[in-house]
């Protein structure tokens, strides 16, 4: 099955909109080109700006399965690509041995059959069509892992020594995210489209909150978006992302707050600020100022 295509970035943006993911022009163009050019999309940006959510929304509009590979330090091929199911191989061997006239060569052949292969996310993505492959937080994996990814991304195929090459009929749409805790190697970036995901504009953020939390009033959503915007400009250790804005709006709503006041903000600050120093600084700088305007 081939991947669904869209005529232009706006058409894709409209489709994403129907899944409640509101993409601005840059992001829509990036996703459109990734689809059209068959290139991986490399998304960088602060935590919580919606990089992972884009992959989820794309899977939804493309009617494709989302396959996620969460990166971490020490991840290697057997966790990302494939592994042999040794226990089953062993059982097969024992079972074959009990048959009297077993052909040794044939048994050995059978041992490396596809059914004994466990597909980890990368192989699974190549075998599933259509699929969206999310390689999440690549910056957490170590650099050897990037070199290993190059091969998979460039060829949309993997070679398994005992089995041969497995190639995707339809290459998956690959979305790679990075929080930029370290610089990803240029060789990998060169194979991708690069997009820096910035914090959303005020209007877009209000809309995102409204879509995600329809039960929260328009006025409270606007107040939260405005306050979060000011917090981002307020020189904090961890400026809040969209995810925090949504959390905050939800927390306020659950507390029965209708209007963002210094008192209600102080009570719920933990939903939006994740460092003690940040909370202290904001409270010391007067919550009124944060909410004014």
């Amino acid at each position: 099955m081939s991947m669904k295509q869209y005529d232009d970035p706006q058409a894709l943006a409209d489709a994403l909109d129907s899944t409640d993911y509101i993409a601005d022009e840059g992001l829509a163009t990036a996703a459109f080109l990734a689809l059209r050019m068959g290139r991986p999309l490399f998304l960088e940006g602060d935590a919580g700006v919606g990089k992972t959510a884009l992959a989820q929304a794309l899977a939804q509009v493309l009617d494709a399965e989302l396959i996620r590979l969460q990166c971490y330090e020490g991840i290697d091929a057997s966790q990302a690509l494939y592994d042999w199911d040794f226990a089953r191989q062993m059982l097969h061997l024992r079972a074959a041995e009990s048959v009297a006239d077993a052909d040794r060569a044939e048994i050995e052949q059978e041992l490396y059959d596809r059914r004994f292969l466990i597909a980890r996310p990368l192989l699974k993505a190549l075998e599933t069509s259509p699929s969206v492959l999310l390689i999440d937080e690549l910056d957490r994996a170590d650099d050897e892992f990037e070199a290993f990814l190059l091969e998979v991304l460039a060829e949309s195929a993997v070679t398994i020594p005992e089995l041969g090459t497995i190639k995707a009929t339809t290459p998956p749409l690959t979305v790679i995210t990075s929080n930029r805790t370290r610089e990803v190697h240029d060789a990998l970036k060169r194979r991708c489209l690069y997009h820096w995901v910035a914090h959303p504009s005020f209007d877009r953020e209000v809309e995102i909150i409204r879509r995600r939390l329809p039960e929260v009033s328009e006025s409270l959503s606007r107040q939260v978006a405005a306050a979060v915007g000011r917090l981002r400009a307020a020189d904090l250790l961890k400026p809040p992302g969209v995810a925090e804005a949504i959390d905050w709006a939800q927390a306020l709503h659950l507390l029965g707050v209708r209007e963002l006041t210094p008192e209600s903000a102080a009570r719920s600050l933990g939903a939006v600020l994740k460092y003690r120093e940040d909370a202290e600084r904001v409270v010391a700088n007067d919550l009124d100022k944060l909410l004014a305007g």
Partner: protein, 385 residues
């Protein structure tokens, strides 16, 4: 945007015939490369493909096609925006002022880049002339501020041999080994070859990796006599461990020079770094700059569990309280914070400047950084950290 907008770009030769789309775009890519964006031929090809997939007559589409394919880090984006405005909208003024990279000042450092390396010098390195060792010994302890041109040339070689390496740490990755813990996968794989009979266990052990090393060098005016040596030291460190070493300079702004220092040839590397640094010999706002480093790099991971070496005399023109606060933050992230100060090597030095006083509580090792010898000691300190 109106259609046909691209025909309005400013051409230096007004009489030149209108160029084709490809040529225009290639010219744009070339110009960006000059402006400091790392535009490679394959990136340029991608841009042409991307423009083709979009609408070449829409300015926004061309903007995004170029940005998504030619840029590769947030640092590229301001240069791209300025370059795009200059090339396609004819805003020449923006090209200069808005560009993140200013015209580099001529490198005032007497690095002796162009000095020919005499054959005699080559020989004298190998010949154990009795006087030589003493001369080198003197040179080792000489303050960088008092060096002659010839001294610098001689020291250049010594720096190339320094290769400071960070101590290693145990990684989460495994490697095949003869000790450690059993590796069930490889053991069973080996058993497969003997018909399922486990004849020999296989082992694995944690891999050892070098710890991250971050070098932050102050290139403000007061540090000028030492900038050359500090960059040479950084170059040696990058050469030794290109992947796990990061180098930044700070003055009136923060510049990452790791990429430039990866060039093998030390003179070329230093020249490239010199051109990348826009703020030679300006003032320093250490606290402000350290915060920029922590916000953009440190907190995200560069400084996490790393050995951080700061080269500075601690002359803080900004708020010392801010410096103290940022040093505390750095100290929480880093494995070890080492501060090398050229003045510490001078007799009678007391750490009394407000900047140093504020920073001292968050420093693990406070060392001298005025002579080759002090750098060699620093290299050992880094190796043992």
């Amino acid at each position: 945007m109106t259609s046909g907008w691209m025909l309005h770009y400013v051409d230096k030769e007004a009489s030149a015939p209108a160029r084709g789309v490809d040529e225009t775009l290639l010219g744009f890519a070339r110009m960006l490369r000059v402006a400091g964006v790392d535009v490679t031929p394959d990136r340029t090809m991608s841009m042409l493909q991307a423009v083709e997939a979009l609408d070449v007559l829409r300015q926004d589409d061309v903007y995004w096609a170029g940005r998504l394919t030619l840029c590769s880090s947030p640092d590229d984006l301001p240069k791209y925006d300025a370059g795009f405005a200059a090339y396609f909208e004819g805003k020449e003024a923006v090209k200069r002022a808005g560009m993140a990279v200013e015209q580099p000042r001529p490198m005032h450092l007497p690095v002796g880049i162009d000095a020919p390396q005499g054959a005699e010098q080559e020989e004298s390195d190998d010949d154990p002339i009795p006087g030589q060792a003493t001369a080198q010994e003197v040179l080792r302890h000489k303050d960088f501020a008092d060096l002659s041109e010839a001294d610098r040339q001689a020291l250049k070689r010594m720096f190339e041999l320094l290769a400071p390496a960070a101590a290693s740490r145990r990684s989460r990755r495994y490697r095949d080994s003869h000790t450690g813990i059993t590796d069930p996968h490889r053991s069973i794989r080996a058993a497969m070859r003997t018909g399922g009979e486990l004849t020999r266990l296989q082992w694995r052990d944690r891999r050892v990796r070098p710890r991250k090393l971050v070098i932050i060098g102050d290139v403000s005016g007061s540090m000028a006599p030492y900038s050359d040596a500090l960059l040479r030291f950084a170059h040696a460190a990058v050469r030794r461990n290109p992947v796990s070493t990061e180098v930044f300079t700070l003055g009136t702004r923060l510049t990452r020079v790791t990429r430039e220092l990866r060039l093998r040839n030390s003179d070329k590397a230093l020249r490239a770094a010199g051109q990348a640094i826009p703020d030679w010999s300006g003032g320093t706002q250490l606290g402000e700059m350290l915060r920029a480093f922590l916000d953009r790099w440190g907190q995200r991971g560069t400084a996490r569990r790393a050995i951080v070496v700061i080269f500075s005399d601690g002359w803080e023109r900004g708020d010392p309280a801010l410096l103290g606060e940022q040093m505390k933050r750095l100290h929480r992230l880093a494995h070890k914070v080492i501060w090398a100060n050229p003045h510490k090597g001078h007799a009678g030095y007391e750490p009394l400047t407000a900047g140093i006083v504020a920073a001292l509580p968050s420093i693990d090792e406070f060392v001298a950084g005025h002579s080759f010898d002090s750098y060699a000691k620093l290299a050992r300190l880094i190796a043992d950290a």
